[in-house]
């Protein structure tokens, strides 16, 4: 082992350069340790503490850069040469990487070889091609873009599987990898609950509820909405579950999806059953109640899913605020609604939130209409007027055609909100407000005028119109949930504490006679 000590006079390195040079210097063949730092007295002490003692260091001044390289005897010269080369190059390299935008993925990968995940949100017609390139280059991929063919999806997912890579999507809106939210995501604590979701807002909701119950998320893997179809066969879901099973930071696995194809559901449950970790499954709207595996719990909604997950990490239930349904509140609202106000109108940005509210209503009522109804007899199109209990997923393809998602552009929902208030049979309008990365910067603020207008219309004909809101977000989001809730409360909106409660409250508010 040979120690090489060098002092570069008046060499000013910012810590970014220092970091990248140190990383590369330590990667040089033959180097066991390379220490680089400015020669302040305190830093000299640090070196002394790790056994580096040298007269050159004693003589160095704070404006000098200290370089200490420990390397194998026969390799020290090569190592020094390599470090010198890195030092000589730093200027051009450090500045150019900051400025350059790359034209092609191949170019980006060549310039930044340690990039490891590509987030693709270009037009769907081009997304598959770029995703394929990224996979071939060994990068994980999240495809936010929709309008990718199912054939491409299968090919990409098989390619990803063969290479041990993530292929989240297409049409994957949400992921949290290593604590970093990708596309639409909320700022949540890191923790031990791993989530694999085929539905974006469902995953967001569970992550937020886990955070709210004091838990945290290890990873949130999105699969795209088609993953659990018979054609795709849950390729990403299964790889995702296996990755979480192997991840030491994940203690419990949560799966959320619309009801999968039967054979796919069996397969997914089988993989979970063999994962060796407790698992919670929320197939929203599925009639299944038993998973068939001791460690795999089937739950009916997003909030029960989050609760079960947090409890499975060992949290004591008695310490949690479960936000049980507020029965006096239900009675109070019922009393304010006129007898003819018997319907709920739900206007949603989040598909899963819409789904969950619709299923809550379906458990009690028959005339439940939606653009995402499973029963074709009750399907409403984007241009159809609402009827009976209506739940609209305004992020559905029929509504978004050619316009941004309602999480970003709320204009369509604002018009619809005012229009629903014209119907004297409407008692409750339920709405979600999604916060977080990717979402509108103030979803509540832009909706307040329409809420006031809707309420005023009802008041003009002597009715109370109940507006029920749910804000999907956390105290760490920007804007924070408390800010959005306060705005809604000031506008007379009743706040639900979760997606699950939103559906239940809406249903109960309009329940009359038999349904009570």
């Amino acid at each position: 082992m040979t120690r090489y000590v060098d002092i570069r006079k008046n060499t000013y390195l910012d810590s970014v350069s220092l970091m990248s040079m140190s990383t590369r210097a330590n990667a040089v063949e033959g180097v066991t340790r390379a220490l680089l730092g400015m020669a302040t007295p305190m830093n000299k002490e640090v070196l002394l503490n790790v056994g580096v003692r040298d007269p050159a260091i004693d003589a160095a001044r704070p404006s000098d850069l200290m370089i200490v390289i420990d390397a194998a005897d026969d390799l020290v010269e090569d190592a020094i040469a390599a470090v010198d080369e890195i030092l000589a190059r730093r200027n051009g390299a450090a500045e150019s990487t900051a400025e350059i935008r790359h034209r092609t993925l191949d170019g980006a990968f060549t310039e930044v070889p340690d990039s490891n995940l590509v987030l693709i949100s270009v037009n769907g017609a081009f997304a598959a091609r770029e995703a394929r390139k990224a996979l071939v280059a060994g990068k994980h991929v999240m495809v936010f873009s929709d309008n990718v063919s199912v054939e491409d999806e299968i090919e990409l997912k098989e390619l990803a599987h063969d290479r041990g890579l993530l292929l989240m999507g297409p049409d994957c809106g949400t992921a949290i990898i290593n604590g970093t939210g990708l596309a639409f995501a909320n700022a949540v604590r890191r923790g031990s609950v791993g989530i694999v979701g085929a539905s974006g807002t469902g995953s967001q909701e569970i992550a937020v509820r886990v955070h709210d119950f004091g838990g945290g998320v290890s990873q949130l893997i999105g699969t795209g909405g088609r993953d659990l179809s018979a054609e795709v066969g849950g390729l990403m879901m299964i790889d995702g579950i296996e990755a979480l099973a192997a991840d030491p930071a994940t203690e419990v696995i949560v799966v959320v999806s619309k009801p999968p194809a039967e054979e796919v559901a069996d397969k997914v449950l089988g993989v979970l059953g063999g994962a060796g970790k407790p698992a919670v499954v929320c197939f929203l709207g599925s009639p299944r109640t038993e998973s068939g595996y001791a460690d795999v719990q089937l739950v009916s909604g997003t909030k029960p899913a989050a609760l079960a997950a947090v409890l499975a990490t060992g949290v004591d239930e008695s310490t949690l605020d479960l936000h049980a349904l507020n029965v006096p509140l239900i009675e109070e609202v019922r009393a304010r609604l006129a007898p003819e106000q018997k319907y709920v109108r739900g206007l949603f940005c989040g598909g899963t939130l819409c789904d969950e509210a619709m299923f809550a209503a379906l458990a009690t009522y028959d005339d439940v209409w939606s653009n995402i109804q499973r029963d074709p007899a009750y399907v409403l199109g984007a241009t159809d007027a609402s009827r009976g209990h209506t739940f609209l997923d305004l992020g559905g393809d029929d509504f978004t055609d050619g316009r941004p998602h309602p999480m970003i552009d709320p204009s369509l929902r604002l018009q619809r909100l005012v229009r629903e208030a014209d119907d004297p049979e409407v008692g409750v309008i339920a709405m979600d407000f999604v916060l977080g990365f990717g979402a509108h910067e103030d979803p509540v603020g832009v909706t307040i005028p329409a809420i006031e207008e809707a309420k005023a219309k009802a008041a003009d004909r002597g009715q109370h119109l109940e507006i029920l809101g749910y804000v999907l977000g956390t105290d760490l989001d920007t804007p924070a949930i408390a800010d959005q809730v306060a705005q809604l409360e000031a506008a007379g909106v009743t706040i639900a504490s979760s997606s699950t409660n939103l559906g239940l409250l809406a249903r109960e508010f309009v329940a009359k006679g038999d349904h009570r």
């Binding site: 790359h102 949100s121 990708l182």
Partner: protein, 481 residues
Amino acid sequence: MSITSLFSTGLKPVNLGLDMFAEDLTAQGVAPVRMDWTPPGGGDPEMIAALGRLERPEVAERIDTANEEAVGRVLAAQPFLEGFGQAIDTVPGMTRTTILHAGPPITWERMSGPMKGAVTGALVFEGLAKDLDEAAELAGSGEIAFSPCHEHQSVGSMAGVTSASMWVHKVTNRTHGNTAYTNLSEQLSKILRFGANDRSVIDRLNWMRDVLGPVLAAAMELNEAGLDLRLLLSQALHMGDEAHNRNVAGTTLLIQALTPYIVETDFSTQEKREVFDFVASSDYFSGPTWMVTAKAAMDAAAGIQDSTVVTAMCRNGVDFGIRVAGTGDRWFTGPAQQVVGPMFAGYTPADSGLDMGDSAITETYGIGGFAMAAAPAIVALVGGTVQEAMGHSRTMNAITAANNPNVTIPALDFMGVPTGIDVRKVIETGVLPLINTAIAHKDPGIGMIGAGIVHPPIEAFQQAIITLADTVGAESRRSAP
């Protein structure tokens, strides 16, 4: 990297698409690599389909191997100046009634004004017509064979008009044994290659035939070792040339290398003095030399099966043509473009002819516009800033297959010039090669009126990619051994 190992590594994302996602990532302390992405092929489904066929792994692998071979040959090529000779004696296929011209094939009727001016001037110079009117008649009579320089192992700057008795460089690529030719610089702006053809032009051509050519030829006969042009070129770039629009250093180096031999020849001091004065009259003297250097190197890659590397870019003032290694002698063309740049006093863009000349062989090889960063002194001449010049050279990396380690740019940390334009990358990125060039007046007889920057028409590359997809990417080739 497996999924599990991703979980234990720092996330280093690339954001391809919506900028707001990149901003969110940055706000979370994970600044992504950002892209300046445009849909491949400009979003044209036909282009995307063609690219797709060439991107199938087995096809792509075959192309990559072929391109490596093609570019490898270009980089390995060592063009040496072996001597000078008259076209009739040296250029393959040359006859007394042949006129070579720049660019892809073109008939007399379709030729641009400057090229017609050059052709008629050359016919008078050769004694085939007594005046320009008669020359024009002769040109249209069918008795004159018009042919692209490129189809005769040659290149010609601007109009590229080369006739039987003109003297040409003989440059041999000693690595692969192929030879290339180009005529001599006429120096001043009112010259045949820009379409000028009055008496002064013909007189100069006569002097070049009778004195300049013979002196240079005799000098090179004394130099048995030949001149390593790649070495001179590389030095010229280090001295601030990009070897298309700036040739100050290259001309100095070239004449410095020739001088001892010129001095040794039997010509009179008066004649030698005329030669030196002529060389000193314009920095452009070595311009054709670097063109033929590039041609000798690029020809080494011609005909490499399956390769998508461009081996020639040239224009005849009407059409812009390219050739691709994997499609051999075939031309892919599109309309020649207007050159954008500063004009000499008194001229406006309305006076300028369309892009013309074989000089884009320099960009094909990686110098000229591709090496703009080497020549900050002329950024104003082509209407840009030093910063843009640096950017141009870096940008060309996006469409090339390699960097030439033998010809480097000091200011870019000795980055090798971007070499080997890949048709696939041009179509995918929409980045077109950048060409530095001169502007000729649109009418015959006037000459150079400015200089600037021009790009090839995308159509030429579109035709090429479709042909490549139909041949290299054909389904039937899948099972080929």
